[in-house]
């Protein structure tokens, strides 16, 4: 058994974990917002995938990472409008519409990719790593936490901002009320539909950015189905986070690290099959769910359309 706790191993594990965690952080943050407002957004995977494709296109066309992120956010928001219209406004089944979004997004991105690129998979330029001066010299952490693409730091900033907004703004307060007891919010004179719509669109934007990150930063290219179920993992992270935004970092890191474990293990000469790697995040989720089954409390009104007078 080779020594696992070498600096090289830990650096690879943490660096890779953080890199893989960022899209999950963005997506699960979005899902947290939607779920807190009472919308179960099963279509998250579809929003991420759409964002990944749009982000890739924009970055390829402009060569600019931020144009890609913006495009991802924009397309994610567009997709979320389907949820807003069908589920928040018209009160249709959130799960069915969510599944429809996933299927359609998978199909459309795959078809468009083939139409535009055929069987070729053009690569984007590698994203520059931003090393934080001084901090980068810390052993292990310097090479992992403090030497990352700028987007990684940005992700952490967004977590803080969203967490702050949920706690300290009337917008966040109304979101939490809309998911817990929409009738009370309505009685307080705030439109439940409006609050939920904004939350859902915000969720779409964050999921789109998360997807864009996957294609632009993580893989540097777009392949169909690139999100590989990350959207569903993000849903679980959001469920377990129960509105606490920093938990999404924790959850995402756990799953990011279970992905980066392979690379790290290869560095120390342990080879594990790729299938085990793809399974690991899901196994972690299931273990967490089994261990904390009782804690997975969700907003009371999650998944139910709000209609005044019908309780």
């Amino acid at each position: 058994m080779p020594d696992l706790l070498t600096p090289a191993f830990l650096t690879a594990l943490i660096a890779g974990g953080l890199l893989a965690a960022v899209p999950l952080i963005f997506a699960s943050l979005g899902e947290i917002i939607a779920e807190q407002a009472g919308v179960l957004n099963v279509g998250l995977e579809g929003m991420m995938l759409s964002g990944a494709f749009a982000g890739f296109l924009a970055t390829q066309a402009t060569g600019d990472l931020w144009a890609g992120a913006a495009a991802g956010a924009l397309v994610g928001m567009l997709v979320s409008l389907v949820m807003v219209l069908f589920c928040v406004r018209l009160g249709m089944d959130q799960i069915i519409v969510g599944i429809a979004i996933v299927l359609t997004a998978e199909g459309v991105t795959s078809v468009l990719h083939t139409v535009m690129y055929g069987q070729s998979f053009p690569r984007l330029d590698k994203i520059a790593v931003f090393e934080i001066p001084l901090l980068r010299d810390i052993p292990v952490l310097g090479g992992s936490v403090f030497s990352q693409p700028l987007a990684v730091y940005l992700g952490l900033v967004v977590v803080g901002v969203v967490g702050w907004m949920i706690r300290y703004t009337s917008w966040g307060l109304h979101i939490r009320a809309a998911g817990e007891r929409p009738a009370s919010l309505d009685a307080a004179g705030v439109s439940v539909v409006r609050v939920r719509s904004v939350a859902e669109i915000g969720c779409g934007a964050l999921a789109g950015i998360g997807g864009a990150y996957m294609s632009i930063v993580s893989s540097g290219t777009f392949v169909p189905f690139v999100t590989q179920g990350a959207g569903f993992i993000a849903i679980v992270i959001a469920m377990l986070a129960r509105g606490r935004s920093w938990w999404s970092v924790l959850g995402a890191l756990l799953f990011g690290m279970s992905l980066s474990l392979t690379t790290a293990l290869q560095l120390v000469g342990v080879d594990i099959p790729v299938d085990v790697v793809t399974m690991l995040p899901f196994i972690s989720v299931m273990l967490v769910l089994i261990l904390f089954a009782r804690d997975a409390r969700l907003p009371t009104a999650l998944g139910t359309a709000y209609q005044r007078g019908s309780r």
Binding site: L173, H174, R176, E180, R181, A187, G189, V190
Partner: protein, 535 residues
């Protein structure tokens, strides 16, 4: 009675209702009601469940629009479009079922919909809260979760919320129904203080002593109408006992029920009811049973009750005092946390719902559409819904539609269920016919004990009469019957004894003899007096 009997000359009422009527399909909830709330006074609306109090308040707060009649606020005629508009006009509402969000803190609950800017201004809210709570004379921790507070404290928060931005009239809907006696006393103190600031208060209650203790004026509602009014001069001129007698007569008495339907309904009460079949054999026994409540309703504590074969025992009390927990713990749908339940001498405390059904226990639920039936399914299947897999309707696990249809037709005939066919979706039937179907299902298959939860709630007069006859007929067959109802007339009509449930406890058991009505009424409205011992 004129519309302005309850105003003081020369003072403009804060809110005035003139000839307000509101009907729902099949029910006239408010029938030309006129009321006025004066500044610095408490107007008590007194009445039983279903008297139309809550509908009236929903109209004032802007949740419903009246069918006819007008509303004046500070002398100006207005149309209150929405609860928000109502609040802007100065109408503050405290609902019977508290509307605080339990997972949010007190401060967050108060800031909801009332924070001026984008960033929550906690400091301003804290200041306002301190101001209001000291005015009310209560202590409030702004940073605890609302759900962790006792119900009385939650109610203080609700009142503060209603007063948050310049309220002129404060409406409290059954504010004490969920409170302990201490909490209720505290609330009265709070309201006296508020009154002194010149606020108008409308206090809705069914508790007589509260109305007398706190009201400057009292209006008695019955079946959507104002059937009696007491002004300040009445309240000061008479002794408490005289007032109590007068109001009980208004609420429950014969003299004040001119409605022909009601006369018809009350006709068979004394004429037919014979209590000859009660045996000494205890059929259903509850010994010190306790169970948790759900959804803000009371659980039950130390409930002991024995029902004999052939006996009808009523359970009286205001809704939400533990009736649901009481019924479900007997039916097996809720686990007791203490005590023992016996059926025919055998303990059934640990048995399942279906095992109890097989032993002859039946439960007529009050949540007819919520759990009583599968609304989208045919009447016929709903009639055998508790016999899935049992012969003769399922033979070796396979359905026999012929047998079900035959039984359905028999039951439809016997129980007079009005339906186009046995195959009609039960959800399409009227409430009365759904209830007849549920009763048919529970009564038809050789029951030993039947628990009826609000058996005639919301039904028309004819169906009500039929259901009560059905209940009385059961006793002749040696069945033990429990009737849970908030309708005192009903309990007097069908029961041999009546237990009164208050805050989850049985506070008295009264034999149904002449005078019982008044005694039960007193126990329900919480009037002091010697507690009758169980027979």
């Amino acid at each position: 009675m004129t519309a302005h009997r309850d105003t003081t000359d020369g003072v403009t009422p804060t809110v005035e209702l003139i000839e307000i009527s509101k009907a729902f399909p099949g029910v006239i909830a408010n029938d030309r009601i006129s009321l006025a709330a004066m500044p610095g006074e408490v107007l008590c609306l007194l009445g039983e469940n279903g008297a139309g109090k809550s509908t009236l308040m929903s109209i004032i707060s802007g949740l419903y629009q009246p069918d006819s009649g007008s509303i004046r606020v500070a002398g100006r005629e207005v149309r209150i479009e929405s609860p928000r508009h109502g609040r802007e006009l100065g109408v503050g509402m405290v609902y019977q079922h508290l509307s605080l969000i339990p997972t949010l803190t007190v401060l967050e609950n108060l800031m909801m919909g009332a924070n001026p800017g984008w960033v929550l201004d906690r400091d301003a809210a804290r200041t306002r809260l301190a101001e209001l709570s000291s005015g009310l004379g209560v202590r409030v921790d702004p940073d605890v979760r609302a759900g962790s507070l006792a119900l009385g404290q939650q109610q203080h928060i609700e009142i503060i919320k209603a007063l948050w931005s310049g309220t002129r009239v404060l409406i409290l809907d059954e504010p004490t129904s969920m409170l302990t006696p201490q909490g209720a006393a505290e609330l009265q103190g709070v309201l006296r203080g508020l009154k002194a600031t010149g606020l108008s208060i409308i206090f809705i209650t069914h508790k007589l002593h509260e109305a007398l203790a706190i009201g400057d004026r009292v209006a008695v509602l019955k079946l959507g109408r104002v059937v009696g009014r007491l002004g300040p001069e009445d309240l000061t001129a008479s002794s408490p006992q005289e007032l109590q007698d007068r109001i009980i007569t208004m609420m429950f008495g014969e003299a004040h029920t001119p409605d022909a339907d009601i006369a018809e309904l009350r006709e068979p009460v004394t004429a037919e009811h014979a209590r000859t079949s009660v045996s000494a054999e205890p059929m259903l026994e509850l010994v010190d049973v306790a169970a948790d409540g759900t959804h803000g309703q009371h659980g039950i504590t130390e409930v002991s009750l024995t029902v004999h074969a052939g006996e009808v025992v009523g359970v009286a009390g205001i809704d939400g005092n533990g009736q649901r927990a009481f019924a479900e713990v007997i039916a097996g749908q809720r686990r007791p946390i203490a005590g023992d339940i016996r059926l025919g001498g055998r303990s059934i405390t640990r048995t399942t719902v279906s095992a109890r059904q097989r032993m002859g226990l039946r439960y007529v639920t009050d949540d007819r559409l919520g759990e009583g039936v599968v609304a989208s399914w045919p009447l016929s299947i709903n009639l055998v819904l508790k016999r899935i897999g049992q012969e003769p309707y399922w033979v070796r696990g396979t359905i026999d539609r012929g047998a079900i249809d035959l039984t359905a037709r028999e039951l439809i005939e016997e129980f007079d269920i009005r339906t186009p066919s046995p195959m009609t979706r039960i959800g399409k039937l009227s409430g009365g016919n759904i209830q007849k179907a549920i009763i048919a299902r529970e009564v038809a298959f050789d029951p030993r004990v039947v628990v009826f939860n609000k058996p005639t709630h919301g039904l028309d007069v004819r169906t009500t009469v039929a259901v009560r006859e059905r209940i009385r007929a059961m006793t002749g067959r040696g069945v033990a019957v429990v009737v849970i109802s908030s309708d005192l007339d009903e309990l007097i009509d069908v029961c041999d004894r009546v237990a009164v449930l208050d805050a989850g406890r049985i506070v008295g058991i009264v034999d149904n003899a002449p005078g019982a009505e008044a005694r039960i009424g007193e126990l329900i409205v919480g009037a002091p007096g010697p507690v009758a011992l169980p027979a």
